[in-house]
């Protein structure tokens, strides 16, 4: 099984491991992530204005490329997923954006939202299946108490992201369980880490990550996992906080393909 794959800027730089572990794990699970050609940065945040078109085009380009290959489009980074999924929804449902974006793009076949966008977690849950994943685990992460950090981007707006219950998600907990570890549910797992605010308002962002870290450790988590490099960066700002790792690292470890990939 082959998926079109959109890595995004940070996965080529600061978060190379997030990408490398994901690809290795994918192969171990019997599917392949084929990077789409000439992808461009998604912009990191979804352009909220109804009149912002140009900033949505990089997503459209990626979506149209996957469509032309007849594949589903897989993402890893929460921010990329959020942006591309929402632009796709615009292309499906907002006639004005669809028309104007296509006018810009001049594709051979206009893009009208045909591509299905999947986050890597959705591939694991809906395509591979957590039961099948559990069977492929060679190094069960027994005894590890892991808190899942979802953040906001994967979950909200729930209607469009349709990723999980935005107020009580479970996909990452199921994932942790499939790897043989013990998920720790804590109430702030779907609250914002501060996002881009941490560039200029470090203190404010730290106050927010403190709340998240405190809640997770209070419920007994020993580490946090995330899909987003920015979430990881922000959560690490909390002094003496729990270690934060990419979920793909744990996955690669459990599947026994971690060795040889440079951290």
């Amino acid at each position: 099984m082959k998926y079109s794959y959109y890595p995004g800027c940070t996965l080529k730089n600061k978060a190379k491991v997030l990408d490398a572990y994901a690809r290795a794990s994918a192969l171990a699970l019997g599917f392949e992530l084929e990077e789409i050609r000439d992808w461009q940065c998604c912009g990191g945040v979804y352009p909220l204005g109804s009149d912002e078109i140009a900033t949505k085009l990089s997503s459209v380009r990626a979506l149209a490329d996957a469509r032309d290959h007849g594949r589903e489009l897989v993402t890893l980074c929460s921010a990329c997923h959020h942006v591309i999924k929402r632009v796709n929804d615009d292309m499906q449902n907002v006639a004005d954006i669809r028309t104007r974006a296509n006018n810009y793009m001049q594709l051979d076949t206009p893009y009208t939202g045909e591509t299905n966008v999947l986050h890597f977690f959705e591939v694991l849950r809906d395509r591979v299946g957590f039961d099948a994943l559990a069977k492929k685990v060679v190094n069960p992460l027994k005894g590890k108490k892991i808190g899942a950090y979802y953040g906001c981007l994967l979950l909200r707006p729930g209607e469009i992201m349709a990723f999980d219950d935005p107020e009580n998600p479970r996909v990452m907990e199921d994932f942790i369980r499939a790897l043989g570890a013990e998920p720790v549910v804590y109430p702030y797992r779907n609250e914002c880490c501060g996002g881009y605010i941490s560039l200029k308002e470090k203190e404010m962002a730290t106050r927010m990550t403190d709340t998240i870290q405190e809640s997770a450790s209070g419920f007994g988590a020993e580490m946090l996992i995330t899909a987003c490099p920015l979430c990881r960066y922000n959560l690490n700002m909390t002094a003496n906080g729990l270690p934060v790792v990419y979920f793909t690292e744990l996955l690669a470890e459990a599947l026994g393909v971690k060795e040889g990939i440079e951290a």
Partner: protein
């Protein structure tokens, strides 16, 4: 040739403000057959109706057009006025120049022009009207009440007391409904069971009332005065004639882990059970999903311990077919599912409960025997937070757009009762608005604040976060202080929106009763006919029509009963004369019309027909006027145009089309 009178109503300024009524009169007077045209401020008044009588007498009118409000408002009024004046009531047509014209158009030219055209269409139709004469149909003097809560019980008692037989159909094993689940009632704090159970007993003992519990309506056919209803009596697995209600079977039952529906899933019950102690009938049912005997074939302990030999594992569902003249719908409500509101952590913490669950917690027969305690650890709470409007007043698909109406009052009740019984417990209520219209209602709410020290904070709760120590962190707005506050609570109670019981949707389809987008049954008129469905013979009792509290429900139940009694008191009903009629000379006898008739009103006869001198036996359609309801499906199915609908004939409608497109 008709002699038509046109009467244009001002409706005060309701019509006259955007329609130049004088101009309408002037233009109408020029239409063919119009011999009289005038305007009047209120045509529906006595004086307005007298104008019609006067014109009939003076000008010898044969047809009447009233340009006024919707025919749904005053068609009957003007038909009666015409009848009094000596004209067949079906020679009256209404041009709706209020709801369909003056009220929606602002420009007087536009409004006037449209009103003239609507008047022309009505005139063109009346030109082709013919006198019609209603027939008669019989009334079965028995009522069906669907739903055995307080609404259904009250309607049944009132109808039965008037001397008519009533059947109550209740889907659960006992009558009582939601009210039976409540602990106390506002604003008097009566014990709910204490005031409800006498009514339940009275209904059960009433010689005119039959109660079918654990039963559902399966099929409804017929029409006002003559409904035929199939009732499915689900297999109770108990012979009710033998059961003494001793309760030994329930004690001895080996399967005791089923969640109690009556306790909202907060406690358990046995597989053989009566929902609550005062259940009526006091005859248990076996939950076949939970019963070991049904699941494995083994066990059978209930049959062994039953001295009366009432257990019957072989019992089957039974279909009972009955005839009724009137049907009262009293299907009630349930609380909405909170799956999509997990910011309140309802699925994450046992200490976040709905208000209806709190009723069970507060009740002596409930899961905690009436002790206020946390369901997670049984600890006495120090601080309880109430959240109002959970799912009510929501314009998204998560909740309901309407106000559930009862929550403000029952929350005040809960807060007060808790503070009264446990003065050490702190109570905070988060509200958007406190809505307390009703006798002694606001006083009641103020007592909660002033005498019982309940802390009301204006603002909604944004998140409830369970804490490692088992407490709940409530993050909310304090709008008056313009602050975001975080409170530590031990329990959170959600004033969950109510919605019509889901069974009402298929029932409405069976009844052909109209239902709104929120699944509340629609009333015939929101103000003037609030307890009747637009479908004749169907009456609305309780929350199935809209959110209401107990006194309102009881009042409406009584009103619905009176309307039903009014119907049952008649021996005959006049039928709608706007029925289909086949022209024998044109009929092919092809049966196409009968295929689309929902009432089986069309049959075929072989008749000797004299078709312009050709005499031959022909198969022709015959419409039974008592059965035909006048939908017109047959008229379009008929290729030859032999089938036509009286009052809405092909030529009449075409005349209207022509007048509008002229």
């Amino acid at each position: 040739m008709q002699r038509i009178g046109v009467f244009v109503c001002h409706c005060g300024s309701n019509i006259a403000a955007t329609v130049d009524v004088k101009k309408v009169v002037e233009m109408a007077a020029r239409e063919p057959s119009v011999v009289h045209a005038e305007d009047y401020p209120y045509m529906c008044s006595e004086a307005g109706q007298a104008k019609i009588a006067q014109a009939v007498a003076e000008k010898g009118l044969t047809g009447i057009v009233v340009c006024s409000c919707s025919p749904r408002m005053h068609e009957a009024t003007f038909r009666k006025a015409a009848e009094r004046a000596g004209i067949n009531p079906f020679m009256v047509e209404i041009a709706n120049i209020r709801e369909h014209c003056s009220w929606i158009h602002k420009n007087i030219e536009e409004g006037t022009e449209k009103a003239i055209i609507l008047a022309r269409a009505a005139i063109a139709k009346v030109n082709l009207n013919a006198p019609l004469f209603p027939g008669e149909s019989r009334v079965t003097k028995r009522a069906l009440v669907i739903g055995g809560g307080i609404a259904g019980i009250q309607s049944a008692l009132d109808i039965a007391d008037a001397g008519y037989e009533v059947d109550i159909v209740e889907k659960t094993p006992s009558i009582g409904g939601r009210m039976a689940q409540l602990d106390k009632t506002f604003p008097t704090l009566d014990c709910s069971a204490c005031i409800l159970t006498p009514k339940m007993v009275e209904a059960a003992a009433h010689e005119k009332i039959r109660i079918y519990t654990y039963s559902e309506v399966e099929k409804i056919s017929g029409f006002v005065g003559d409904f035929t209803v199939d009732i499915r009596k689900k297999a109770r697995s108990i012979d009710a004639t033998k059961c003494t209600g001793c309760g030994v079977c329930q004690e001895k039952c080996h399967s005791k882990k089923s969640l109690s529906e009556f306790n909202r899933g907060l406690g358990t019950r046995s597989a053989i059970y009566t929902p609550f102690a005062q259940a009526i009938p006091n005859v248990p049912v076996i939950d076949r999903e939970a019963c070991i005997k049904f699941k494995t074939g083994k066990c059978g302990v209930c049959a062994k311990v039953c001295a009366a030999g009432a257990i019957d594992y072989e019992q089957k569902d039974e279909i009972i077919t009955e005839k009724y003249g009137a049907i009262v719908v009293a299907t009630g409500f349930d609380t909405i599912k909170l799956d999509k509101y997990d910011e309140y952590a309802y699925n994450q913490s046992k200490d976040v409960i709905t208000s209806l669950e709190l009723e069970r917690v507060m009740n002596a027969a409930g899961p905690t025997k009436g002790h206020l305690e946390r369901l997670s650890d049984g600890k006495h709470p120090e601080h309880i937070v109430f959240v109002q409007c959970v799912g009510s007043r929501c314009s998204d698909e998560r909740g309901k757009p309407y106000c559930s109406k009862i929550c403000c009052m029952y929350t005040a009740k809960h807060a007060m009762l808790i503070r009264d019984k446990y003065p050490d417990v702190k109570v905070t209520v988060f509200y958007i608005d406190v809505r307390t219209p009703g006798k002694n209602f606001d006083e009641f709410y103020r007592r909660a604040v002033e005498e019982y020290g309940v802390n009301y904070i204006k603002g909604q709760v944004g998140k409830v976060a369970p804490q490692p120590d088992g407490s709940l962190l409530v993050q909310a707005s304090d709008l008056l202080d313009n602050k975001q506050i975080k409170l530590k609570a031990d329990m959170v109670v959600l004033a969950t929106a109510i919605e019509p019981d889901p069974s009402v949707r298929p029932l409405a389809t069976m009844l052909t009763a109209s239902i709104d987008t929120n699944n509340f049954l629609t009333e015939a008129h929101p103000k003037l006919r609030p307890v009747e469905s637009p479908t004749a013979g169907i009456f609305l009792s309780g929350v199935c029509q809209g959110p209401k509290d107990i006194p309102e429900t009881v009042a409406q139940a009584g009103a619905a009963a009176v309307k039903a009694i009014g119907l049952l008191a008649k021996d005959k009903l006049t039928t709608n004369p706007c029925t289909a009629k086949a022209d024998e000379l044109l009929c092919n006898g092809c049966s196409t019309c009968a295929n689309v008739c929902p009432y089986g009103a069309i049959s075929y006869e072989t008749k000797l027909i004299n078709d312009h001198g050709i005499r031959e036996d022909r198969r022709v359609a015959v419409v039974n006027n008592a059965l035909c309801q006048g939908c017109g499906a047959c008229t379009v199915a008929c290729p030859s145009g032999a089938m036509d609908l009286q009052g809405f004939s092909n030529r009449q409608i075409i005349a209207e089309v022509d007048a509008i497109c002229r």
